[in-house]
Symmetry: C2
Subunit: 338 residues, 2 copies
DNA sequence: GTGAAAGCGCTAACAT
DNA sequence: ATGTTAGCGCTTTCAC
């Protein structure tokens, strides 16, 4: 367990000052003799020297680290986004510090602070707060921030999101076309992002199905424990009408399908079903479940690229990028043939 | 954009030396007057002072950071493990630096080095190499290492894994009992972990089904592009015999089911199907797919706890923990009733 | 009980 | 082309 070599060791061995070594490390060999350069190169290899980035960060205020604060890693959705971010960062020589907020504002703050404390050069956040204030303050401190996945009003810097309102509206139009008469959105928790989705749903349901807002959305809880009740109730409501539910995320969709199978509800006869699906399994579930899919990895990649760009150019991140999701219409929302 | 307060600011404001503040920060108030302590407390709050952990790390060689190097984040499996690790670390005041190896030994090394460079206090790794050497060297450098998910021979320190051989064997016994006569394991890539699983399958297939090893396993590629061919071939082989396939992971299982649906193959009549499933969707796919499930979050939690413990006690990580996976036998591997 | 002083390993003026 | 010097913000002997 030999001590790791430091810049001093290298300097001594080469016979120059630390400054010269530091210059070499930072790529300013413009005014450096070829001989010195080669000598340094050799000694570094020989001593197996790796610059200590903690010391480097302390002095230079640049850590080559990017902070990533996400709501969760548990589900495919965020994990893939992180994968995308991570890939881009690594490719550009940046490391990542990943924190989870669990959609708790306090935890989010802790995560952000942990990152700041590590002197991250930038922050990519899936925000759990609707108000941009907290994130704006970061920018005022000079830390570039890219927001992703969730859309925040009045955010003047870079962000990447998916147009859920369009996706949801298209799905509603499809349901209408297929002859459904009443619809219900199964929302798990009350956060601004899910609320925005529910909102789009309510608007569409009001316009297309003449449903009052309070009738088109139901909350089923973080773990989806209320899914059975929610379904039971919707099945009893509007007797004789053709009804369809839309699940807010993969997990909810899964629970819905499980419950419907348990109760032997016939899809789409007794009930039409659609929802967000990150994995594609909905395609395989009888009779083929219509789904909404977001390009998660693309969100991550785009967010990462935005961050890298603004880091290279200096300044804040820029530009809102709206990514397209995709809809798959399958037999679970067809009223025609089984 | 006010400058962040430093220990010097606090010391000046309180009217003591940096040393005293440092003592306060490190919790050695034993020899400190109550008055001083309270005064410091107040000033810290007033100045909104947060100790700079980079400086702290540089001096003390402890970063309160744990490095996590996983093969991927793309899939549920690893992402949940990371979630588990992250939760435990955060709870104990540690941050995490996450790196992906993509199962590439070079990238893994890069990840490890990035972590070391950030002076992580410990490393939790899903190893992509079968040989313990690289990981042992870390320990020799004094960095505690916990290996997880994949089992490495001759690893004397802490590790957490699942007994895949038992799970696979049980599944094979089940297949035998259900009257299947030939089986095939669909492996995606050739790494030591997947090979160990394939190995267990081959052993079991030889013993229970009298199949030579080369007949019981087939490689279908990282993206599973060979799934159609593999299935086609297996369906043609052993005419008249009852056959079943077992997929090495969720993605492969998904592809298998998709292809079988496309070809209108009747499960389990034409072919029995089972495999690893991380999400539970297999339950919903007709006719109910038998599955193997690993307790991913538990792996992460256990690994995290092992790390924390050895960090608190000083010394290396200890103990092999084998976690139990779970089997679900469903109609996709029943020969009796549909 | 508290403080002075010497760094940790590196960078960045400012020389030369 | 290269070196001198003064720190970054903190910890840690050792001294009082």
């Amino acid at each position: 367990m030999e001590k790791k070599a430091t810049i001093t060791d290298v300097a001594r061995e080469v016979g120059v000052s630390k400054t010269t070594i530091s210059r070499y490390l930072n790529g300013s060999f413009e005014f450096m003799s070829d001989k010195t350069r080669q000598r340094i190169e050799a000694v570094i290899k020989e001593l197996n020297y790796v610059p200590n980035s903690v010391a480097r960060t302390l002095k230079s205020k640049r850590s080559m680290l990017i902070g990533v604060v996400v709501n969760t890693l548990r589900y495919q959705v965020a994990a893939q986004t992180v994968t995308g971010i991570h890939g881009v960062c690594t490719k550009n020589g940046y490391g990542t510090v990943v924190c989870c907020s669990d959609d708790d504002p306090d935890k989010e703050l802790q995560g952000i602070q942990l990152c700041l404390n590590q002197q991250v050069d930038g922050l990519i956040i899936i925000p759990c707060l609707e108000s941009p204030q907290r994130y704006l303050e970061l920018c005022q401190q000079g830390i570039p921030v890219v927001l992703c996945t969730r859309r925040i009003q009045d955010w003047p810097y870079g962000c990447v999101y998916v147009r859920h309102d369009e996706l949801i509206t298209s799905m509603l139009v499809h349901l209408k076309e297929q002859g459904f008469e009443k619809v219900r959105f199964l929302q798990d928790v009350n956060n601004f992002h899910k609320n925005a989705m529910a909102d789009a749903f309510q608007k569409g349901a009001e316009y297309l199905f003449s449903m009052p807002p309070e009738e088109s959305v139901v909350l089923i809880g973080r773990e989806g424990s209320l899914v059975p009740e929610a379904l039971e109730q919707f099945l009893l409501e509007y007797p004789g009408r053709r009804k369809a539910v839309c699940a807010v995320n993969t997990h909810t969709l899964f629970l819905v399908l499980k419950e419907l199978e348990r109760r032997q509800i016939q899809i789409p006869w007794d009930l039409g079903v659609c929802g967000y699906d990150a994995q594609g399994w909905s395609e395989l579930v009888y009779p083929g479940i219509s789904s909404i899919r977001q390009p998660m990895d693309q969100i991550g990649i785009t967010a990462g690229e935005k961050m890298i760009r603004c880091l290279q150019e200096g300044g804040m991140s820029q530009g809102h990028t709206a990514l397209e999701g995709t809809l798959a219409f399958r037999r679970s929302t067809r009223q025609s043939d089984p």
